[in-house]
């Protein structure tokens, strides 16, 4: 089973994230980045499946130079090889463009025959959670997303998906596209051995031209949406904080009454 995992390099959520003033895009240079934590679950699941069935795990990322770190981390965890799509024209791409590039990169990495594609449930910066569905649409693969449990067998993938009203079991024949949630596994930390081994693993660097994509289809200028205004939310005004001296609950109820919640 050869598996492709899509991983994104994102600004660290613990840092002071922001935007580039010149073009309203996410600041990816001024803030430390890392492999999106939610994509670690995708890498882990791919590694487990490959270990069980024998097969290769290829990680694919789209992003600027520093996105190479996301690939590196996945290789350290145990993935076999990496693909980094890096092209200045990609800067500012929206989700439809990102999914277009990813789809072409996945096809190229698998000679047009992906068996299983695994993604995270959402990136921790954009948090849209739409790229997996777009990828399925573009690749013409069954979409089996938000997996909290996954089993593979008889050429079929079966997942558990939780939503508001119920828990669903969903089934699809391979090839398929799967996205996984943070409920599915416990991602491993790279071992010392893994870190050393990663240095020798192959990473391909591709441009849009390598994928046969016209620069006019992607990037900020060709995005199908535009940001018209960005405002830093004023810090919430510091509210009233009381120490409980035996009457904290009563004071809380008084606050609720004053705000007309009772």
């Amino acid at each position: 089973m050869n598996i492709v995992v899509c991983v994104k390099h994102v600004p660290d959520a613990q840092a002071d994230r922001g935007f580039n003033e010149s073009d309203n895009t996410v600041d990816r240079a001024g803030v430390d980045g890392l492999l999106s934590e939610l994509d670690e679950y995708a890498v882990e699941e791919a590694l487990k499946l490959a270990e069980a069935s024998g097969g290769e795990v290829t990680v694919v990322t789209i992003g600027p130079d520093q996105a190479a770190d996301a690939v590196k981390k996945a290789l350290q965890m145990g993935a076999d090889k990496g693909v980094h799509v890096n092209d200045e024209a990609i800067h500012g791409s929206d989700a439809p463009a990102t999914s277009l590039i990813l789809a072409e990169a996945i096809k190229k990495a698998t000679d047009g025959n992906p068996e299983l594609v695994i993604t995270g449930m959402a990136s921790t910066d954009g948090t849209m959670g739409v790229v997996p569905a777009m990828l399925a649409e573009r690749l013409g693969l069954p979409q089996v997303t938000y997996a909290s449990e996954l089993t593979l067998g008889d050429g079929k993938v079966t997942i558990r998906r939780d939503n508001d009203a119920n828990t669903e079991t969903i089934e699809a024949s391979l090839p398929a596209l799967v996205s996984v949630t943070d409920q599915i596994n416990e991602p491993r930390y790279p071992s010392f051995k893994g870190i050393m081994a990663a240095k020798k693993k192959p990473v391909e660097s591709w441009t849009l031209a390598d994928l046969g994509i016209d620069a006019g289809q992607v990037g900020l200028a060709n995005a199908w949406t535009k940001v018209v205004e960005i405002a830093k939310r004023p810090p919430r005004e510091q509210g009233e904080i009381v120490k409980d001296e035996g009457d904290g609950g009563t004071k809380l109820a008084e606050f609720l009454a004053a705000r007309k919640f009772l």
């Binding site: 959520a13 613990q14 939610l38 929206d94 439809p96 999914s99 449930m121 921790t124 910066d125 948090t127 849209m128 959670g129 739409v130 790229v131 569905a133 777009m134 649409e137 069954p142 979409q143 997303t145 909290s148 079966t158 939780d162 939503n163 508001d164 828990t167 669903e168 079991t169 969903i170 089934e171 699809a172 024949s173 398929a176 995005a223 199908w224 949406t225 535009k226 940001v227 960005i230 405002a231 939310r233 919430r236 510091q238 509210g239 009233e240 904080i241 009381v242 409980d244 035996g246 904290g248 609950g249 009563t250 809380l252 109820a253 008084e254 606050f255 609720l256 009454a257 705000r259 919640f261």
Partner: protein
């Protein structure tokens, strides 16, 4: 005025509140039409008309809801091809965002998700989003195709505005791909009798500080008629179901009032509750980051504060 499609949000034919919210928003942008996929359209029609749907497009084929999201995107795309809508509004929940995603690719239209408000603007609808765990507000517009906007629950106060609600059947043959991810089993979640988390006006959440005992959290929630939420720490510990988790990888809530008890206020938790109108926290540690957000905070033990508050609320409510 152009047509604005809204995707009806329902569970087994029973409408959810978001449907009326989407219709209310749609009226600002053009002439609303509802797209109802699945059973229950006859009953739904009455409510859809009440909130302003001129037309109700109905696709009632079992396969549509027995497969994951792809069929719904195909039905919407078919209706969009016929009506050339100015906008398509979809509930911004997990499935809704995925339907919107596929529709965007199919129709080559721009997509905005997680909108907390949508207004008419020059050059089309303008959507507000709250990003980076609520630290920024971003206004965006779609520049290509119909404006596909996934709107979060509780984004507007609903208003009735009766319209015709003329029913029109949609004829679509679903593709093989759309039926390639069948839902083979569906287990309803145990009902708590409390309001649904994302729709609730008040949410009371408990975290690691409960030590696994959610009874004071639940009792306080019940005194207020609130939904109960939980932090991931509480969910990971197995103290509360994952479907009640609030935060980045749980539910995003935006109630009138959010109460966090024994929750420290990690960035991932904030991402799910920071847009709440009023925030209250109870925490033993006065340094807990959650206190940076609150309108009212009690530094104290939740096992003392919540029961007292519950009694006082009950007394005041009579």
């Amino acid at each position: 005025m152009g047509e604005v499609l809204i995707l009806v949000d329902h569970v087994d034919g029973k409408l959810r509140k978001t449907t009326a919210e989407l219709l209310t928003i749609a009226r600002r942008l053009g002439e609303p039409s509802a797209v109802h996929i699945g059973p229950g359209a006859e009953t739904a029609q009455v409510t859809l008309a009440k909130y302003g749907a001129s037309k109700v497009y109905v696709f009632d084929d079992e396969a549509a809801l027995k497969n994951l999201v792809a069929p719904q995107a195909e039905v919407l795309a078919a209706v969009a091809a016929k009506t050339s809508p100015v906008a398509v509004l979809i509930p911004s929940n997990t499935a809704g965002k995925e339907i919107a995603a596929r529709l965007a690719v199919k129709t080559e239209s721009g997509l905005i998700t997680d909108a907390v408000d949508v207004q008419a603007g020059e050059g089309g609808p303008v959507a507000n989003q709250s990003v980076f765990a609520g630290s920024y507000t971003v206004k965006s517009q779609v520049t290509k195709g119909a404006a596909i906007i996934a709107v979060k629950p509780n984004s507007t106060a609903i208003e009735a505005a009766p319209a015709a609600g003329a029913v029109e059947k949609v004829e679509v043959t679903l593709s093989d791909l759309a039926t390639a991810a069948p839902i083979t089993d569906r287990q309803p979640k145990a009902k708590s009798g409390r309001p649904e988390l994302t729709e609730a006006q008040i949410v009371v959440s408990g975290g690691r500080g409960t030590g696994g005992d959610f009874s004071p959290v639940e009792a306080f929630a019940d005194s207020l008629g609130a939904a109960v939420g939980a932090s991931r720490a509480a969910v990971d510990a197995g103290w509360y179901p994952h479907s009640n988790q609030v935060g980045q990888t749980g539910k995003q809530v935006s109630p009138q009032l959010y109460v966090a008890a024994g929750i420290s206020g990690a960035i991932q938790h904030r991402a799910g509750m920071q847009t709440s109108k009023t925030i209250i926290a109870i925490n033993k540690d006065e340094e807990a980051p959650i206190f940076e957000l609150v309108d009212f905070g009690v530094v104290g033990d939740l096992f003392n504060v919540l029961p007292q508050a519950t009694d006082e609320v009950k007394k005041r409510k009579g």
